[in-house]
Every structure is written in C-alpha cells, then in structure tokens.
Symmetry: C2
Subunit: 195 residues, 2 copies
DNA sequence: TTCACTTCTTGCCATATGACAAGATTAGTT
DNA sequence: AACTAATCTTGTCATATGGCAAGAAGTGAA
C-alpha cells in the first residue's frame, strides 16, 4: 500500500500519540476527506451524530440558542481539533448544539461504526481518544470556572495567548459570546489592551 | 440471601433503572455503607479517585481554588446523587477538585475494580451509568451556558426550583460561588425575591 | 466601481455585581 | 447559659458590562 499524499495531515495528527505505524495502516484508511463550505452545517440540533471529524484547515463553531433566543458560541475549532459531540456519539443522544463551518474547511471524517470498531480493537487508539475526551472535559470545566472567576479581559487575553489563530479568523461577535460578553464589550476590551 | 435492611436505599436508587432483581443481587453487595463526618474530604486535589459514592443522606460539595486563590464551589450534591470525578475514575487522571462533606453523610461506596467489573459485565448497569454520565455532562454544559446567558437572579431561581433542599441546607457563600456571584449579591437577590 | 451587507468601533447612559466594612443573626462548644 | 466563631444582611461606593444607536471600516457581489 503506497501512502496517499492527501493523508499526510492524518499521519501528523496521529504520529505523536504512540500509535504504531502498523496500526496507522488500519486506522488512516477509515478516514475520508470531506470539504465543507462556509456556513455549511456539520450537525444540527436534534440530530444524532453519526460521524466525527478532524479539521485539517478552516474554522468551525458550535453554538446553542438559549431560552431568550441568544446565539451563544459554545466552542471554537480549528486545525487539528476534533469536532465531536460526546453525548451524541457515545450515547446516541440527540445533540443540543449546532455545529457550523465558519470558513471553507477541509476535514477528515470517520463513521461512528469505524470509530467504535477501532475504539474496541486498538488499545492505543482508545487511549488517544480517551485523552481527547479528558482534554475536552477539562477544557469545559476550566472555561466554566473562568466564567465565574476571571473578568472578561483575562478570558480574552488567555484566548489570545492560547489560540491566537482563532482570534485572527473568527468574527468578534462569536468570540464575544464564547467569552460570555457582548461584542461591544469585547471591542472595548481590545481597545484598552492595544493602548 | 436475605435482603439487608440497610440496603433499602440502594434498592430504591436502582429500581427505576431497568436493572433486574437478579442483577441487583450481584450489584448491591459490591456497595458498602460508609459515613463521613462534616468537613471530611472524600477526595482531595491531586489524588486519583479509586472509588465513588451514592449519597444516601447529607450534603457534599466539590470545589476548586482558582488562580487568584478564590474558593469556587463547582458542584453540590445531595441524597441520591452520585459523587464521581469522571476523568479521575475513567482515566486515572489526578483530580483537580476537592470533594468535601458539608454535613455528616451516609454514603454507599463502590471500589473502582468492582465498578469496572460490573460496567463491562452487566449491560443494564453500564447503560444506567452512561445515563448518569450524560446527565452530568449536560448539567455542566447547561450551567456553563447559564453563566453566560442568564443573570444571577435567574440562576438562583432555577436552583431554588430544581434543588430547594440544596438551598435550605448549604451555606449561602457556597451557593453563591456555585452561581458565579458573591455571597453579598446573593443575599441581595434573596431579599429582592422575598419582596 | 458601485452598492448592499456585515462587522467593528464608539458614545451615552443604565444597571448588575463586586469590594469592603459594620452589624445582626445563627450555630457550635464548653 | 455564656462565649466564640461562622454566617447572613445591609450600607456605601466603585466598576465591569450591557443596551441601544450611529457611524466607520471592511467584505462580497454584480
């Protein structure tokens, strides 16, 4: 089997995870490249997620509409991130989120069946996925704590430090709701920082 | 095997879950009763959780100390709740929380080994536990959204409606940090509501 | 280029919440 | 009962953030 050049991205993503080259030969063919156009939905509220994605390039957000009708960005994804709604994919629960491409995207998609098959048969894959889940859970928890304990400026500065590419490529209104503030406030915070 | 009267609580907890009586005869003996005194720690930051608990009676909170030294209550538990730090118990990651009894408590404890054994061998137990995990994940997500979208008064009113026993039994300073505000503000909100 | 549309910034004012400190109330202990 | 400590309330004032609207800047399409 000659290596598909297109799969270079996947090789890079997995190579740091302790998965052997032999295992990669099983894993990587399960993924197929898929492109989303700007504003396409990867998943809509109420659906059950039947696949999930690695983002090779582009930006994606998940959002909810709260009880007052506000659009709140819940997560922002970019290259090398995994887009997965765990309750949906693990427990077949209809998702409560909308997941939408903010830009044109190149993604690598895997079906739920392939995922589950590898999850149960390849220990190193399972460990890698567990790591992603823990990371996701921690991130959610940290974000929640940050909403309580930090002021908006600090949350923005942290995002700026940890994910500058997000700030450069995502509109401020989405970043603002993700940080728990309005775009007006975010604009003022940015002005203050630049001085 | 005659039924232990002490296990009446466990029978009630499991009976609504679709687990058969035969299975209960396997499951319930794995739990042992354990009492915590007020202020005892069930788990301290940095430990790896090796057991988890159902609360029969009493109140428990989990909290973190944030980067500024603030004590922030992350979750509040009461009768019939499960106290479990999923990243810790599933992935052997040291917990980032402290879990402490707020009152004297009667709990039912199960070891990690017994838990895992039943998780893999008893399908209905696994499903029940998955349900608890999904519930916990959703609750965290909803709480996070609420911190962004709702004002403090609404968050308090929701807690009051959904968990009045928590409000009656937990000190306001812990409820306040759980809701993302100070005890001073919470006191004012309560006054406003009572008028 | 021009036009429409979205995004971003800014001004003005309102308000929710925080910080701090002093009392009032309650609970726990001897 | 009496004492101490913890908890809760309240006052005063400061400030972070929101709401709204207008204008500026940027983007995309014909």
């Amino acid at each position: 089997m000659t290596e598909n050049l297109d799969q270079h991205f996947l090789n890079k993503v997995f190579e740091a995870s302790g998965i052997t080259k032999e295992e990669l030969k099983v894993i990587i063919p399960k993924y197929k490249e898929i492109k989303f156009d700007k504003n396409d939905y990867l998943l809509k509220e109420g659906q059950v997620e039947k696949k999930y994605w690695f983002i090779e390039s582009g930006f994606v957000r998940s959002y909810v509409i709260d009880t007052k009708g506000n659009d709140i960005t819940f997560n922002l994804y970019s290259s090398k991130d995994v887009v997965i709604d765990y309750p949906s994919i693990f427990f077949f629960a209809p998702t409560r989120e909308n997941i939408q491409a903010l830009t044109d995207c190149v993604c690598w998609e895997i079906s739920l069946e392939s995922y589950q098959e590898m999850f149960s048969s390849i220990a190193s894959f399972r460990e890698q996925q567990k790591g992603l889940l823990v990371g996701s859970y921690f991130a959610l928890k940290q974000h929640s704590i940050s909403l309580i304990a930090d002021e908006a400026k600090d949350r923005y500065l942290r995002l700026l430090k940890e994910k500058p590419h997000i700030i450069q490529n995502v509109s401020l209104k989405h970043i603002a709701t993700f940080l728990g503030i309005t775009d007006t406030s975010l604009s003022r915070i940015r002005k203050e920082i630049s001085n």
